[in-house]
Symmetry: C2
């Protein structure tokens, strides 16, 4: 079983890395880019077959380690 976790900065939180990307793309001539935000995606390989339990456990992992809940939000997708 596999879990895909997306972790992004909450809307409104300043994203200097995204701003750097947008600036660099503009300076390369991609002036259609009006903004950029960067997040991370973590792919977990999981043993077990219970999707509901897996989701619960992965959400706990996010709260404890994978995301900083003060400034970040996450979403979890469970795949076979």
């Amino acid at each position: 079983m596999k879990a895909i976790v997306h972790v992004q900065l909450k809307p409104g939180v300043l994203d200097p890395q995204g701003q750097a990307i947008a600036g660099a793309l503009a300076s390369l001539g991609y002036d259609e880019v009006t903004g950029a935000r960067q997040g991370k995606v973590i792919e977990l390989e999981l043993s077990g077959t219970d999707h509901a339990l897996a989701r619960e456990r992965v959400e706990a992992m996010c709260g404890q380690l994978l995301a900083n809940m003060v400034i970040e939000q996450f979403s979890v997708e469970i795949l076979d």
Copy 2:
């Protein structure tokens, strides 16, 4: 228009950050985690309405700046 770019290490490329995540989760008691890989996701705000052109341009951005094509692979999703 929005573009979502996923950048991941190619399969087979060593991912020390993913290994650190898997190790930390195991030490927190999440022993169902058998592996982890970390990638990044970049959300671009784009002006214009031509999806095909946008995809072509974003793929060029990946080759030039957003991904290191030696060790990384990317996928592009264009949204309204």
